[in-house]
Subunit: 344 residues, 4 copies
C-alpha cells in the first residue's frame, strides 16, 4: 500500500536486465560508449529530432538545474509556477547552477495560465538595469499537483515565451505519464509545441536513476557538457545510465509502465471517490490529492499504508477533512489498492 | 588489453547481485532506506568511527567537490598537488561548489612534500584581507600519478595542516588500492592520521557508480546534506547506491578487487620492465607511467591495446621514448596482459 | 522641480567641505585611516553600541548584499517584502553575493505584517532537505513605498524572527528619514528593537556615495571584511568615504537634512492634496505616491518637472488618474515645490 | 616620506575642483548624467575608439573583476602572471565574479613571456571536458613589480591570445604611468596592440576613487551594465565619478601626474643606487624594489618613513640585505625624498 511517491518502487525487470546485459567487457568512459550512441539515436527517433543533443544524468534535479543554467544568465529570472519542483523541492539548485538567477513565481496555482505568464513577463524588465532580466519559461508536465497541460495549453504558453524571445524548458520527470494521458507524440508534447529543452525522466517510471536532457537545437551542446562535468554529473561509467534508458525504451516499456501507473491511479481515484473523498482536481496522470476524514487516514496509516498528508496533521478532530497526496507507480498491484480502499 | 582507466571495466558480479537483490518492494527515498542504515553502520565499523556521518553520491567529483565545499569558505584557498584530480580533472567543480574559492598548487610534483606544503601555507595570508585565506588541505591517496603516501607521510602532511588549524580532505577514489598497498587499517589511513573527511571510492574498484563521503566529526552533517541536495546529488532511489556499496564491502570484496588490481599492475610492470620500459616511479598501486619506444606503442595500439600516451604523439621518430599511462583494474585477465606484453 | 529621486541632488556643502578638509597629506589605505577610527567611534556612540563593527561601502546595494551574504547560507531563503529594494532593484545582487540563496516574498504589500511573516517562515522548512532553509528577515525602513514602521511594528517583526532564531537585517538607505519621522533614537530603531545589522544610508541624504554597515554583534566582522574585499567594495582611499560620513554626522547634519526632506515632502503632499490628488498612503517620510489626472502630469512634465509615473503611460485619456512617485530631498526649495504645484 | 603606495596620497586639487563644480543642481542618476556623456566622449577620443563602451566603477578590483567576468565563462581559466593583482590581491574576486573560473598562473616571473604564455595555453584543454577551457589573457601594465611591457611585448602577448582566439584584458591601474614611460598613445598601448578591454585607473594617479572600464568592441556593453549593477558597483550619483575623471583628463593632468610620479621614482632610485641599494629591476614607472641593509630600514622606518619590507622582517642581522617596495605618487615632494635618502 505504497502511495508515497513513484520514486520508491522497484526497478522494472527489463531495465535491470538491460543493466546486467551491459555488464560485459570494457567500454570507454564518460559517454563515449556504444550504448550511449545507440540511445542517442533512439531518443532522436522517439522525438523525431535528428539533430537533438542528448545527455544523461543521475537525478531529476540535475537534469533541470543543468538545463536551466545553460539557458539562463545569472542576471535573469526564470518564470515558473509557484509549485514548480525547481522552486519548492530543489533546495536552491537552480539558483546555484545559474550563478544566482532568480525565480519569478507566476501567480495562480499549479498550472501556469497564459495570461498570468504574460503578466509576469511584463512585470519584469520594467526597471532597466535595476531589476532582473527576463529569462526562460519553465513548465512542468506532469505538474507538481498531478495535472497535465493539454497540447493547446502547452502551445499557448510557449507562444507567450516566443513573443518575448524566451527559451522554454520542460521538466518531464513524469514525461511518459503525461504523454499517455494526452495520447500524443513526444514531438507534439515538446518541440512541436515550442519547447527548447526537455528533462526526460526515467527514474520515476521504472529506471534506477537516470534522466535524459534533450536539446532540440544543439547549439548549447558543448556548454552543457562543460556544465555537466563542472557540476559533477558526468558519470565515468555512463554505459550503465545508457543501458537503463535503453531498457526503458525497448518495446515501448516506458509507455507501458506509464499507462499502468496512470491506470492504477485512476482505479485508486475511483475507489476513493466511492469512499467519499473530495478531489482538488480530477486525476490527469498518476498523482491525486484527495481529502478524507482524519479517521480514515489514521486507520489507513496505522494499517501500514504509506502516503503523505498534505495540509494537516495526523492528530485532530476525527471527522475533519484532511487532504493527502497519493502517487501510483507501475508496480503497485490492484490487490494493494483494494486492500487500501478496504481500510477506508 | 584495456589499460586506459579503472573506470571502464565491468561491475563486479557480487555488486550486481546486490543490486538485483535490493530490487524488491518499496523503500523510502532519499537515503531513508534500510540498506543505507545498514551501510552506514558497516562503514562506521570499517573505519572504527562510530560517530561518522556517511553519505553517498554517484561520482567521485561530486564526493570531492561537496566535501571540500563543506570545509571551505569562498574567500579561502585549498592546498593541493598541482596534479590533483580536483585541479586537473574536474572542470572547476571545486571552484563552483565552494562559491569561488581558489586552489593553491603546492609545488614539487605529484606527492605533496611536508616542506612544500608548509611553504605554500605560509605564502598565503601574508596580505591580510587582500589575498585569499588559508583553507583545507586536499590529499589524494592513491595520487594521480599512481603513488601511495606512507602513513608517516600522511601523518606529517596532516600535522602541518593541524599546525595551522586547517581541515584535511582525502580524495580516496582509489582508497582500497592504497590501503592494500600499505597493509594498514582504514582508520590508520584516515582519521588516525589526521584526516577529517574522506571520499571513499567504489566506482573504480568494482561498483557501478557510487562513492561515499565520510565525515569523522559529524558537525557538518546537515550542511553537507543541504549542499548535496542543492548540488542535485541526492538520489531518490538511494537504496541502489547503498546496495552497490554493501555488495562491495561484503566479505571484503573491496579489498580483494583492489589487491587483484594492484597485482595485475605489478605483473604488467614487471613485464614492461623486462621489455625495457623506463618508469617514472615504482608502481605503488594499480597505475604506472612507463616510457617505451614509439614503435612499441604503434604496434600495441594498432593491435587493439587501449591506453593513453601521456607526453607525446603517436606519430614521430620510431625509437623515441614516449611515456604512457597504464591502469589495471581487478577484471583484467593475465592473458590480456601477456598478450599485450607479447606485442611489445 | 526635481522629484524623481533623492539620489540626484547635490552633495551637502558640509559634506563636501569635510571631503576637502580630509584632502591633506598621506593616509593609510583600506580603512586604516584615522578618519575611519574617528567615524567608527562616532557611529558607535550614535547607536549606543560600543562593540559594533562598522564598515563603509560606496553603494546601498553593496551594503545590503554584503550584509545579507554574511548572514545567509546559500541553501537558505531571505524573508522580505515583495517590494523590497533587494528584490526589485538590485538585479539579483543578494542572490549573487549569497552564492545563490532565494528570496521569499512575504505577501501582503509594502510593509510586512507580523502574521504574514510568520506564515512565510512556517511555509519554509516543511520539506526537510528538499526546500530552502530559513534565513534572515530583511526589513526596509523607510520602505520602498515610503512607509515607516513604528517601533512596535519593528519589534514585533524582529520578535517573529527571534522566535525562529533568524537574524534581522535593516535596509536603512533612508534610515535618517525614518528616524526623524518616528522621533526615536537610532538604538531604539535598530538593536533595541531586535535588528542585528543595519545598512545606514548616507548617499540619499546629503552624501556623495557612502553607506555604513553596522553589525551590533561583531562576531561576523572579519568575514564581512573578506566578503567586502572579494566583492571589490574595499576602497583604497577609504578616508574619503569616512570623511563624507563624518561631515554628515557633524552637528547633527544628517538629522537636519532628513527633517528638511520630510518637511518638503509633507509640504508637497499638502499642496497635492489641495490640488485633488489621491494618496496610496499618508506620507511618512520623504516619498509619496499620488494619483492625479493625466492632464496634470502632461502639463507638469512638459514644463520641466521631473518625476516617475508609476502605474501608467504619459499618453492616454486626459482625465484618467495616473499615480506618480514623488521623492523630496533636503535640497529642493519651497519655490520649486510651489512652482510645481502651480502647474497642476 | 610616504612610499607605501600610490593610493594613499591626496586627491589632486584639479580633481577636487571638478567635484566641487559638479556639485550644483540635480542630475539623473546611475550614469544618465551629462558629465558621463561628456566623459564617454572624451575617453573615446583619448583612445581613438569612437565605438568604445565606457563605464565607471569605484575600485580597481571592481574594474578588473567585472571586465574579466564579462569575458570569462565559469568553466574557463584566465591566464595571468603569478604576481598579477587579480591573483594575489583581490581575495578571489575574479573567481567570485566569474562564477568560479580558474586562474592559470603563467610561470616565469612578473612579466609574462610569450613562450610561457603559449605553453600555458597549450597546457589547458588537453583533457577535453575534464579540465577547464581556455579563457582570457589578463595582462597588467604597469606590472605588480613595477615593470612596463614594451609595445612589442604587448603585441606579442596579444598575438598569442589571438592565435587561440582568446580575448585580452589589460589591468591599467597604472595605465598613465606606463603610457608616459613608453611615450606612446593610449590606442597603441591598448586596442592597436590587441587589447579588448582596459581597466583605466584614476585612483592611484590623482583621483579619489574612480576607474573606467573600456570595451573597444561594445558587443558586451549591456551584459557589463547588468553585471555591474548585480555586483553593486553602479553608483546612483555617478556624476561624481564622472566629474573626477573629467578633472583628471582636463589639460592632460593625468599624464602630468603620471610623469611626475615616474620622475619622483627615478629620482628616488638614483638616490638609492648611490646609497648602495641593489635593484631587482631597473625602474620603469613609479615603483621599485630595492635591497638595503636592514640597519638602513630600521633607521628610516624609525624616523617616520613609510613603506613595505618585501622579503624580510624588521628584526634580524643589521647588515643583511632586505628588499623593500617603494612607490612614488605625483604628490611626494623632492624634499621628502631627499630627507629619506639622508636617513640612509
Amino acid at each position: 500500500m505504497f502511495f508515497a511517491s513513484d520514486n520508491s518502487g522497484p526497478v522494472h525487470p527489463q531495465v535491470l536486465r538491460a543493466l546486467t546485459e551491459a555488464n560485459t567487457g570494457y567500454a570507454m568512459g564518460y559517454g563515449a560508449d556504444t550504448q550511449m550512441d545507440n540511445l542517442r539515436q533512439q531518443l532522436r527517433e522517439v522525438f523525431e529530432a535528428p539533430d537533438a543533443a542528448v545527455y544523461l544524468v543521475g537525478t531529476g534535479t540535475a537534469a533541470n538545474a543543468l538545463a536551466l543554467a545553460t539557458l539562463t544568465q545569472p542576471y535573469q529570472t526564470i518564470f515558473c509556477s509557484a509549485h514548480a519542483h525547481i522552486h519548492e523541492d530543489e533546495c536552491n539548485a537552480p539558483e546555484f547552477y545559474s550563478g544566482g538567477a532568480k525565480l519569478t513565481l507566476v501567480p495562480g496555482g499549479d498550472k501556469m495560465a497564459v495570461q498570468a505568464l504574460r503578466s509576469s513577463i511584463l512585470g519584469e524588465e520594467t526597471r532597466g538595469v535595476h531589476g532582473p532580466q527576463r529569462g526562460p519559461v519553465a513548465i512542468s508536465q506532469v505538474t507538481e499537483r498531478g495535472l497535465v497541460y493539454s497540447l493547446e495549453e502547452l502551445r499557448a504558453l510557449c507562444g507567450v515565451a516566443a513573443e518575448y524571445d524566451l527559451p522554454v524548458h520542460l521538466d518531464g520527470a513524469r514525461f511518459a505519464n503525461a504523454l499517455v494521458s494526452l495520447g500524443c507524440s513526444p514531438a507534439e508534447m515538446s518541440w512541436k509545441a515550442g519547447v527548447d529543452v526537455v528533462s526526460f525522466g526515467g527514474t520515476k517510471n521504472g529506471c534506477m536513476g537516470v534522466e535524459a536532457v534533450i536539446f532540440f537545437d544543439p547549439k548549447h551542446a558543448w556548454e552543457f557538457e562543460l556544465r555537466r562535468k563542472r557540476g559533477a554529473h558526468l558519470f565515468s561509467k555512463n554505459r550503465y545510465l545508457a543501458a537503463q534508458m535503453l531498457g526503458y525504451l525497448q518495446d515501448g516499456l516506458w509507455l507501458e509502465t506509464a499507462r499502468k501507473a496512470n491506470e492504477n491511479c485512476a482505479y485508486l481515484a475511483e475507489g476513493l471517490r466511492q469512499a467519499g473523498a473530495e478531489f482538488q482536481h480530477s486525476p490527469d496522470a498518476n498523482m491525486i490529492f484527495a481529502a478524507l476524514p482524519r479517521a480514515c487516514h489514521q486507520r489507513a496509516l496505522a494499517a501500514g499504508a504509506c502516503y503523505h498528508l498534505w495540509d494537516g496533521e495526523l492528530e485532530g478532530p476525527q471527522d475533519e477533512q484532511v487532504t493527502a497526496r497519493f502517487v501510483c507507480d507501475w508496480a503497485i498491484g490492484r490487490d494493494q489498492i483494494d486492500q487500501f480502499l478496504m481500510l477506508l
